[in-house]
Symmetry: C2
Subunit: 289 residues, 2 copies
């Protein structure tokens, strides 16, 4: 199967899984949870599916874990878009949750998406081995919490009002926390589900995460709002330091390509079985949104 076909198939399966898992809930908060978990690239869920496949994990197990990380990703976007945070009106070409409903519904829908993600991970339906389920919860909590993604978001907000601009070293640390940790976790989760060695996948994910963020910064400068489905040029107009503003676009592009190569090299122990994962690394720097 081609990479595009594999990604499209995974997107469909992840959407079906999320729809099924969220079906029991009703009311406006549940509607907002469904809305916020619809669409998107499903990159994090796809990473779970592809890394789990390396260890012959049953697809149904991997799909529940993919749904959980997509729910956590959606929660982080809902809260990040709030007026008190990034104050964004559009996400994936649609009104953000607080614009379509209101701030209270957005806070609660984000809260409940985080909660339900942990419920799915810990559920006996995800894996027969409770120790693996508990490990999934602990590792995701570390990557998403006050020493992980939330710390990255707090550093990002602090950077916006800081008088001295970020250095390349500090922006790398910030983005590793804010974006990188939730791209690393799906790769760890695949290995956890398959009781495999996560080390090569964590090396792959670290390079992938940084390449992803550099590509995001390039898209913010060069992208098109209609294709992106969200505002572009925000960072530059806010005078915010990014990889592009610090390195220049050409050097940033070179760095992203070098990271793709390094990410792909980390997959060599898996040989041809990791061909689709290698294509993911290429995809994150060539996508147009």
């Amino acid at each position: 199967m081609s990479f595009d076909a594999a990604l499209r198939a995974a997107q469909g399966e992840i959407q079906t899984t999320l729809t099924d898992l969220l079906a029991p809930f009703d009311g406006p908060v549940a509607d907002a949870m469904r809305y916020a978990t619809s669409g998107g690239k499903r990159l994090r869920g796809f990473l779970v599916l592809e890394t789990a496949a390396l260890f012959d994990v049953p697809r149904g197990q991997a799909l529940r874990v993919a749904a959980a990380i997509e729910a956590v990703h959606a929660y982080s976007l809902i809260h990040d878009d709030l007026p008190c945070m990034d104050d964004d009106d559009l996400r994936r070409g649609q009104p953000t949750v607080h614009r379509k409903w209101d701030d209270a519904t957005a806070v609660l829908a984000g809260d409940a998406l985080q909660t339900v993600a942990f419920e799915w991970l810990a559920s006996p339906l995800t894996h027969a081995d409770a120790a693996i389920r508990a490990d999934l919860v602990v590792t995701l909590a570390r990557d998403a919490g006050a020493a992980g993604m939330v710390r990255g978001q707090a550093l990002d907000i602090a950077a916006e009002t800081a008088t001295d601009p970020l250095t390349l070293e500090r922006i790398t640390e910030l983005q590793r926390l804010k974006t990188g940790r939730l791209l690393e976790w799906p790769c760890r989760a695949g290995a956890l589900l398959g009781i495999g060695d996560p080390t090569p996948l964590m090396l792959f994910a670290a390079d992938l995460g940084l390449a992803f963020q550099i590509a995001d910064d390039l898209l913010d400068v060069e992208g098109d709002a209609a294709t992106m489905g969200k505002a572009v040029g925000k960072d530059a107009s806010a005078g915010k330091a990014t990889f592009v503003s610090l390195m220049g676009a050409d050097a940033a592009r070179d760095r992203a390509l070098a990271l793709v190569k390094s990410a792909q090299d980390a997959l060599l122990p898996f040989g041809d079985r990791a061909a689709t994962l290698a294509a993911v690394a290429r995809y994150v720097v060539t996508r147009d949104r």
Copy 2:
């Protein structure tokens, strides 16, 4: 030990546990997490300790679970106090998190307190048996999420703008979700940790939760802002239906006392060992804050 002494001792132990568990985190969001988890009655944590003691659960295990439910309670208060929710300036006599820091820090501190609570529950340090840890995560997620506490908060917000006032039946359902579920969970958690039958404790907790909420409504009418540490009379001035507005203060007080009696009856299978838990039921309707 008297009830007061037992509660004070538990409050000290829970505070120490939270301080230790939160020590690794730094930055403003972590400071806000510490601030929001300081003080309070520790009623939910105390319920974990007392129900776990019925099954001879080691104190250290119960304290980690008590810290987790107090973290979830603190997260719910931080988000509930936000301007887009209840818009409260004071909590326990101190500025709310968004007043002391800002809205973004309050959103993130609440988010991270929820995350870390699940990390603590799922950690091998909490219990040797991973199935028990996974059960703690699943049950808390159900009680705190889109079919539990968050649903209660959404119904509460919807009720504020509804044109037809709540009936006694609907307010009972709302409060059972919003407040009751996080009072029931600690009682279930004690039984889970001790591999005991949760049924009598769940009956106890259901009555306790409703008595707690009726007492809260009475305090909102009759309480003193200085003692309560938060604004009083808010519900009445907002024209909001409460147990007191629907039943009258005398009938509400009678109902709360009947619920205390019923809660205590549910503890009869445990005999004298549940004397402190029985005193908790009395405490929730006689407290002055």
